[in-house]
Symmetry: C2
Subunit: 209 residues, 2 copies
């Protein structure tokens, strides 16, 4: 006797999204924001995530416009990079992760920081106008905020969703409270991670709302 | 003025694990199980995950022995595959994901199931004695259980951590209740995902307990 279960991928997605929309309070989100939030909740398997997703002013439009214009997607971890569905990106956008670049380890040593933070330095001029996705390392998000505040290249939008117990909540609060003026999406507190972050990108890239 | 934050990767890990051990109730776990659970909680940023992590009899020893013996690690998604730290595996173990194998799409069509479930068929004889890691698709876990029950190759251990709203809870309960006799680790309910699943593998592969 084998198990009886839904085997149609599209039907599974539809039923999942219907359950999330029935259970989650999405009333404080604009339609495009709600679309993104549903995908993030889906990736986490956690309806209460809705309560800690925060969109800064103009984020959804800025991030979507950047993707449509072919902006690169710059990721702090390989899991984030791998979670982004290339085929769904609207303009053959580059998806970049420099964490395993051969220069990263020495750069981290020299800067006295983590490899995740040092890897951001290797984005260079690609950072200007990009969509940045931080789904793992608080140090990467802190480093990015400070680099922009110091006059470095400015991304079009930042997804700040590092996860964990040391610095994650603080780095995301710092992004939301900063005066760098780059539109942001954050997950407040400890929650976050590569699946949630890449789901936000996939939602922004999707033309089905 | 730049932000002040902890920049030492090893110190961040240590402080994170100390916070988790202080906040989570790990009393029902054996020492190796607790070590794995701490890493899973760390990946999720969620202390209450401790309440839904369940180890079947003999799982931790069976999974660890398989890794030490050089067993391949078979993954249902590329994010899981990417989340496993190759350098930490004790025997140069292969890490395999067949989701993007060119044969998978046609096989899914023929079997009337998802690509994630069909991809499991391509593991073939590598499944015997392997460590299986399901971190995304409930259909993959259901398909695996049924294939083993039907007399297919038997893995050494199964990590069952698919995430989501349709079939995830049911597929994990099916694994825990099945009579296939393969040691398992599950995350009960909707929670799970690639980061949690790959963290379990990384913990089992680590020699620091």
């Amino acid at each position: 006797v084998t198990h009886d279960y839904l085997r149609d991928g599209a039907a599974i997605y539809e039923r999942s999204f219907a359950i999330i929309r029935a259970e989650a309070d999405l009333s404080r989100f604009a339609p495009l924001e709600a679309h993104v939030a549903v995908r993030m909740i889906h990736a986490a398997g956690l309806v209460p995530l809705a309560e800690v997703i925060r969109f800064g002013l103009g984020f959804a439009d800025a991030a979507r416009a950047a993707l449509m214009a072919g902006a690169p997607v710059l990721c702090d971890s390989e899991m984030v990079e791998r979670g982004i569905t290339r085929a769904r990106l609207p303009a053959g956008n580059d998806v970049v992760c420099t964490l395993r670049d051969p220069r990263t380890a020495a750069l981290a040593e020299r800067l006295g920081t983590t490899r995740s933070a040092a890897a951001i330095e290797l984005w260079g001029e690609r950072l200007a106008g990009s969509l940045v996705v931080i789904g793992n390392a608080p140090t990467a998000l802190f480093h990015l905020i400070d680099a922009i505040a110091a006059g470095g290249p400015r991304p079009a939008a930042i997804i700040g969703a590092p996860v964990g117990f040391v610095g994650a909540a603080e780095s995301k609060a710092a992004l939301a409270e900063s005066s760098i003026g780059v539109p942001w999406l954050i997950v407040e507190g400890r929650l976050g991670g590569s699946a949630i972050a890449s789901a936000a990108v996939n939602a922004l890239a999707s033309d089905r709302l």
